[in-house]
Structure formats: structure tokens, C-alpha cells
Symmetry: D2
Subunit: 124 residues, 4 copies
Amino acid sequence: MSDTLQRLAELIETRKLAQGGDPEKSYIARLFAKGDDAILKKIGEEATETVMAAKDARVDGNTAALVGECADLWFHTLVMLAQFNLTPQMVLDELARREGMSGIEEKAARKDVLRDKAEQSAKS
Amino acid sequence: MSDTLQRLAELIETRKLAQGGDPEKSYIARLFAKGDDAILKKIGEEATETVMAAKDARVDGNTAALVGECADLWFHTLVMLAQFNLTPQMVLDELARREGMSGIEEKAARKDVLRDKAEQSAKS
Amino acid sequence: MSDTLQRLAELIETRKLAQGGDPEKSYIARLFAKGDDAILKKIGEEATETVMAAKDARVDGNTAALVGECADLWFHTLVMLAQFNLTPQMVLDELARREGMSGIEEKAARKDVLRDKAEQSAKS
Amino acid sequence: MSDTLQRLAELIETRKLAQGGDPEKSYIARLFAKGDDAILKKIGEEATETVMAAKDARVDGNTAALVGECADLWFHTLVMLAQFNLTPQMVLDELARREGMSGIEEKAARKDVLRDKAEQSAKS
């Protein structure tokens, strides 16, 4: 599909303080300087902004803003992965692994259907 | 890097009800059947679980769980994008566009540095 | 228990721009000047910070920080309620109403137990 | 204002497993049986649902749903406080303490104004 994630991950690596990243010049280096909580807080923030942009898109049709917020969310997950010395490839591998386990979606669905039947029976 | 995202997006498309997706058999079709809020709620949930897994990883070193939660978060953003007839490529294009705008990170950093100086001056 | 919530809600009302709230002098007036999304974004942020403080409290025993983050979260829900011309009393009334509906917790629990049995059966 | 929070906190205490709370009969006892992460996940979930209900309220005027989601959020923060052997009174005391520190809002506002000026200067 693209090696944008790979290139971004490499760029982010160069912003680590140990790699010479400069918090005065780089937003990413600045996040690394602040540490775990500042980065994780951004995950919560960007997830909330993505949800709000999606609600707005239903009203005003502005899907570009939703794409932008989703990009912000993915970007900050890349910074988080780097902070823990992980890579986007690991996440893609995990997604591919699940995709290959063909039974898993059906199993999840079956569980979900049973759950809904349980909810209906409990409500009655 | 990989076309996992592309393949996943195509799989998700086939689960739309209009494409014959069956909520009895597919977890994804089930999310589509429930609609926007059920999907967006998952974004908030998975973001929270990602943050918790990151906090845990600092204590117990279990980064595999963090990768798994991040995969869950990305997966549900793919479902959200499909729900709004958007694609992961659009998000990657937006990320690439920003990467190309070389000044943007420095500008963001400069703003951030000014902000911190403002905070220090306000605290004094 | 306390009328702290009531007094805070009254203070917050006075910060509305229509009541003479001044964004140059008041953080709350500033949130009102920014509008819905700025206030809602704070709900997402403070919820994430509460979750992180709780994870930290298990490691370092610092429950004072958790109380502080929970106070931040409640405070910003009060600002949100005011933004929608609602009051904390309405939320307390809703909580009291549920408390009075004695069957509701048992029903929720029964549903939950059935759901777990469904999950176990689906996993097997 | 009300002792609803106090009464709810007392009810929640009785649902702790050590107090005889029964996960088969009580939703709250069930959350306690699942532990920290299940409770914290609910904070993230209910915060997201509150944000979505607020966005909806601007479109359809359904503020009752927003009050309901806010009640859910507060309720689950009470369960979290109990899980950490904390009380809502501690949160209210913290809010009252801040209210008494009259300078704090003005300081926050001054910091915020400086930050916005910094942002404008960085954008220019």
C-alpha cells in the first residue's frame, strides 16, 4: 500500500534525544523529552477529536477533517510505538496474523450474537 | 512497508451489509449493523486500552500486549473509515503530505516552546 | 454530602460571556469562548489522565494525584453541563432515580452473567 | 446540594467482595471482581459516550441523554474511587480547596492567554 508509515517511523526515530533530536526545533523531540504520559495523553486527546470529527462529518459532510484527525491519531500512535522501541511493522504483522486466523472473526461474531440474545433475554 | 492495511480495508468493505455482510457471522458486519456510535465508542475504548497497556508495559515489560492493543485501535479506525466511505490510503496521503511540508514540525515546535515559556512566566 | 458542586456550578455560570465572564481573566470564560469542542476535548483528556493516575497509583501508591485528576474530570463535566444549560443537580437526580429503581442493578448483573456464559461457550 | 453521592458511595462499598458483594447479583460487584482495568476501561467508554451525547444534543436537543451519560460517567468514577479506597468527599474537598485558592483561575487564564499569543505569533 505505501511505505509512509515506515518513513514516518524512521523520521520519528531521528527525533529521539539519544539520536540528537532537539526539543527546541522538533515537536516530536519535545514529546520524547516530556515522556510517556505526555505521549499517552495525546492518544486520548486525538481519539476524542477523531470521535468528534466523525460526529461532525455526519452533520456537515466534512470528511477531510475526519481524515485529518485520524492522521493525528495514527501519528501519535507511531510516536508511542517509538517511545517503547516498537515499530508500526509489528502492529501490521499482528493485524496480518489475525487476518490469517480465518476463524477468529466468525468466533467473535458468534460470541457477540450470543451476547445479544443474552441481553434480550435479560431485558424480558 | 506492507499492504496489510489495504487488504484489511478490502476485507472490511465486504462486510458492509450492502455487500452481503452478515451480522450473524461477522463481527465487522455486526458493527456496521449497529452504526456510527457503536463504532466510535470502540475508538474511545481501544484508545483507553492502549494507554493502559502502555502503562503496564513500563511495569511488566509486556510490549506484546501493547502491540495487540495498538492493532485493535488501528483496526477499529479502519472500520470507522469504511463506515464513512474513506480509505486508509487517504490517511496515509495526509500523513505523507504533512511529512513533505518540512516547515510544519519546526513551526509546531516553535509554538510549543513559546507555550512552555509562557507557562513558566505565568507560574512565576 | 456537600454543596461544593452547587457552589462551583454557580461560579461557573458567572463566567459565561453573557454574564460578564472575561476570557482574559478566567480560564472557565476562556473555555466558554472557545465553545463545545474545546470543552468536550477536555472531557476526553481528563478521563485519560484519570486512567493514567489510577494505573500509577497501583505502582506508587499516590492516590492524592488520582483524587486530583478525578477532581479535574468532574470540574470539566460541570463546565460542560453549564455549556448546555444543565446543572449537576440534574445528574444527581438521575443517579438518585436509578438508585431507587432497585431492580436495575440486579437486571444489569443478570445480563452480564449471561453475557459471560455466552463468551465462555463461544470460546469453547 | 445533595447526599446522593454519599449514599451511592455507601451502596458501592457494600458491593465489594469482602463486604459480601455477589457478582452473580450485582453489576458493581461484578466490576470489582474483574478488577482495575475493567473499571478504568469504563471511565474511557463513558467519557466517549458523554462526548457523543453532547455532540448529538447540539443537533437534536436531547439533553436528557447527555445528563444520562454524565450520570454514567460519574457513577463509574465512584466505583473507581471505591476500588482505590477513596471517597467522593475527597474529590469534593479537593474541588473546594481549589475554589478557595482565588488566584488559581486567574493564573490559569493568564497562562492560557500567553499560550494563545504564542500560538498566533508562531503561526504568523
